[in-house]
Point group: D2
Chain length 382, copies 4
């Protein structure tokens, strides 16, 4: 823990908190080669940036992100602002030689994402897109089982992300709390916000998606803008369903919506292989379900694995408590930071890189295009 890594945080919303917490917790639970130092927190409103910096122990605060990037004192720029500002900040940071951790989705569209990838690769700086769910231990364990070939040939990959927070017509669009409903700030609706997670995890687990066929819907056509007070058309997709082909021959079925009454943040994954199947959901994130056809016939059944057993080899869990005692959402970010610090120290890329984030962006864009045209759309290889 000799060396430090100075962090400049841009954004003080929900994600700013999650990332800051991870930087603070990581050294208590992981023996990381670099110790994060919370240098500066940057956000638009001075008062709020100041309060945030105080709350989380940042040494200073500012309101102009360029100041962060220009500072010699900053090693890594952490981008936790709405999607429409990612590219500009990331490119500037890369040019300034900073490492970058950027919230997902990488950008508003593929074109932007490409410029970001080019910028970081040209600058040769460490870069990572924050798809946090990869590092929920159960999701990580799933990846290991697949990679070891325990499932055999994969036939099906199924994933949904269901929420219900925008059912009321009274929810506004735009502004700090509801920018995700404003197409200008978010780029898209559930596709970029939620399906991006499903897609990132799916391609990590199951390889490239080659073709998609999608349907979208906007159930509530107009909403008041939180800042202007004007009723404006809603430009985002409230719901999106698509099926697809993976390069390995398996079929995908994906769906996301913010109109699934009763589901708050229900990200689910199911993978059906020749020999075994896997299920997981974010509401019970500490569990992985496993079905193994190789079990004796009369004893075959879905196992509910409580992924808290370090002795059993559950990823990351040797750093926490004892078997049976669960970790939550926040710890996935701690794992992300731990892996990032380790990779940075070794000079290795930390997955998912911006380039992997671009791959997800391509699928999202193909999905949205397919929904418009009503036909299959190929995901471009490059």
């Amino acid at each position: 823990m000799a060396k430090t890594l100075n962090v400049g945080m841009i954004g003080y919303g929900f994600m700013g908190r999650a990332h800051s917490n991870a930087y603070r917790m990581v050294t208590n639970f992981f023996d990381v080669p670099r110790e994060p130092v919370l240098k500066v927190a940057c956000g638009l409103v001075e008062e709020e940036a100041k309060a945030f910096a105080k709350q989380w122990g940042y040494e200073s605060h500012c309101t102009d992100w360029r100041q962060v990037i220009e500072s010699d004192d900053i090693d890594v720029v952490d981008i936790c602002v709405p999607n429409n500002v990612h590219a500009e900040i990331a490119i500037a940071a890369a040019e300034a030689g900073k490492m970058i951790l950027c919230e997902k989705p990488l950008a508003l569209d593929v074109a932007q994402a490409r410029t970001m990838v080019e910028a970081v690769e040209k600058a040769g700086v460490a870069n990572m897109a924050s798809f946090c769910y990869r590092r929920v231990p159960a999701v990580t364990l799933a990846k290991t089982l697949i990679d070891e070939g325990l499932l055999g040939r994969i036939f099906h990959y199924r994933s949904v992300f269901l929420q219900d927070w925008t059912i009321s017509a009274d929810v506004p669009q735009g502004g700090m709390a509801t920018w995700r409903l404003d197409v200008k700030a978010a780029g898209s609706g559930v596709t970029g916000d939620l399906l991006a997670h499903c897609i990132d995890t799916a391609m990590w687990h199951n390889g490239p998606i080659t073709r998609v066929n999608a349907m979208t819907e906007t159930f509530i056509k107009e909403r008041t803008h939180a800042e202007t007070g004007k009723v404006e058309p809603v430009g985002i997709d409230d719901a999106c369903t698509f099926f697809c082909r993976f390069e390995n021959g398996s079929l995908g079925n994906f769906e996301s919506t913010r109109y699934a009454r009763g589901h708050k943040s229900l990200f689910t994954v199911e993978i059906n292989g020749e020999h075994a199947s896997i299920r997981w959901n974010l509401h019970d994130l500490q569990r992985l379900e496993w079905f193994d056809h190789r079990d004796e016939g009369r004893l075959r059944g879905w196992r509910s694995i409580h992924v808290t057993d370090h002795g059993g080899g559950h990823p990351y869990m040797d750093h926490w408590w004892v078997p049976g005692l669960a970790i939550g959402y926040a710890e996935a970010f701690v794992h992300q930071v731990a892996d990032f610090l380790t990779a940075v120290d070794k000079g290795e890329p930390c997955s998912p890189t911006f380039r992997e984030g671009l791959e997800t962006q391509k699928v999202c864009e193909a999905v949205l295009e397919s929904a418009k045209t009503g036909t299959w759309v190929d995901v471009p290889e490059d």
Copy 2:
């Protein structure tokens, strides 16, 4: 129970057993206006037809279905043979003035199904397509809740039917046990066999489906024919996914496969409405899950309703045991027969009629066409 209803059963396979059992049980548990009398069981192989008739208490047996239809002694013809023979038998039975109960899917294709509808309507005979799952009490309860408007506007309908029995390349096609894999006997694969159930229930719950967009796959391209021993191309769909629009503006997402390791007969339904949501699955058929947003905030949660409480008003359950004691798969057929006998006695149609079976057939055909063309296909209105 003064009047009788003489039954001629055609087919002695899995469905022949399920229907026969229902006829035998119904008068013990329901006060039906007509008592079924098991007159004759008909099947191709004399020895087997004889054994079947003995096992189930049929007065006689035969091997030619025309004999059943020509008999003056038969009131209702029950068709439990492979799909490719439904139309011929049903049309002949209608012309002979018999009532008809026909296993699903109604026919091989829409054209056939239409001729069957025309035949029964012209003859004015009672007719019913056997979509048994409508009469699982939890599924019936769901229908009631939707019809009472408790869900409010419907946004999403989601349904899958997952199995895993054909994963091995050693499973043959054709013959008595595996005719469902032979496109000539079955017409299609999972679409007609499994999705037909999903679609029937969905349109019963949520109204007409207007457009579909589908993908199918045949994972194992060749299989040995059980009778000829020859390796032949597989003509059925092993898996089928589609999304769709309902007339009421809601979105549908459907999937079926026989390659979902770990699922034996997992038919699921989920409906998301403005105020409430419903979930059900066939593996735990005695339960209905219900989420009601009108519950007090801190106490909102998915309720797992054990649908065995006659005092609570659970459909059909006043005829069985006491709360907490479940019924199984077989009882859905008893309910179907009880409703059929009651409708017949009143001279009323018993849903799903052949005409409703035709509507499901139209969706199935649109799905298969869409999978071929890769585009949206409208479900024809007539």
Copy 3:
């Protein structure tokens, strides 16, 4: 199916229906060596006995059980009346050389039960106490796994039977519908009615119980008698908890109540062994939960086995449907009758015999005595 077995049913209540249904169904699903013939149904009220006989296809009816016993035409007497009449009927039936199937608990007390055992053993007639849950396939499977030694040394056996139907003070005691609350008819409350099931299953699974220590409670002290209309003290136990020692060194924990709001008929079993554990509950009777410590560490988890897979070797399931399609409560009685008919034909005892029923009665009586004295009570060996 050449030979018949003439049945005389005494009692037309809930159990009379369950048993009658089993006799009717058994030959359709099992190749039993004797075919039950429903000869006579006997009950106190002529009109009701008549209606019952008609509903279930008994050839005749009567109101005096002695008539049944004296009839040369009857092979087996099936006793489905309140507990206080079991002994008299059973002893008379034994003396008349009839086979006997008797509902549980065997008797009001150990003394009565002993005379019944003596009677049937002296007469050398086939006899069985109807503890139906042993033949729920999941419970039967559990027995097999234990007997094969898959659990290793047993440490704990845990079982509850929870209901909530008597919470209201308005429920009467006595009469046809609520005789279970009348100590004169029932002998005891939850101990004889519900714990008897837990105890029978437990000793079948895990061997003799040697000592018990119990607590009982009667929450509602007075209830109106359904027949007399008088308010009378309640003599039964509303709730009973006990812990115990098994002969094999394991510890037992048992509880039953009719005041567990939200549970209708929640019979549960859990067994913890050195290598593996088992769980089951009656509300989801088609599932068995299995945990095996010998599984690879990271993949250990409770398996939810859907006990419907005949190919997998699930007991009795080769007689029903296909994997994934559940049977319910009623089928346990069909299995019981099938086993009884087979044993009778071979001249072998069919477990649980009256003698085994006596063992359960001994534990029940020790439990009630312990609750009175507040100390450990040994279960008498003989």
Copy 4:
């Protein structure tokens, strides 16, 4: 956050980590009136104490707990050492005028616990026993629902704490990792370690326990001592079951064991009231199950409440993430510290105080005595 609270931590094991983490996180998520400052970490082995202090950011370390107590710089002494040392440290700390947070169980026995209560009350210092599970949001919500009378009269309270980590005879006793198996360090086995949690929560939820009747067992009679290497008799209880009476007339049933294969840390609670029932378990700590008999009959069912909805009023959850995103085990300690800091600032007691810890100790001691004598034992009122 103007004022600070200087913390002296005694013990650097599992609990030392959990408490330290809570002190570090609390100011990020809660607006507490006092800011904890990690002053000194104390433990027996110099090297380990030093490493621990570094890992968690303590300003210094030491090996003699008296040094902590004598320091003017320390406001609160946090006792995270084995049970046999609690009393001595706590009493000295009280006499030195320090606030005290002490891990559970309070002491080895009632006599010790009494002296601790006397010491803190005489000194008038803030004191709290760390029964962390009270502050799992679902458990706290249960308390609120009970206190509001939503359950009506309580009939039953049921609680178990099941583990399986000591099944192997190779696990040693004594030493840093396994002091819980050494009766000299732990005082008792599962009774003090696990049942103490069940009892504390139960009395918090449901009021005083007045009488108990218990059974204990030590399955493995001898174990090697981790430090001496000698095989010694095992003095602790491996398993303990007891039933009891609560002052409010309800019945309790409790069980704990470390021989329940398949359960890692399965603390469960179930409460059955006249109108409603509650269930919770530690393996799915983010969920509370709720059954309300006042729901419409056909829609009654156990609700699975995901206790993550601040808008819905779930305790503590306004400080964390968004609905659907769970917290874990660690956060219960953050809540405990937040409440402690708030109470301390107001000069109010923070429940559970040492006096409440003493009440739990009394029940534990009565349980152990009852297990020895085989009879009911009254819990002393004072």
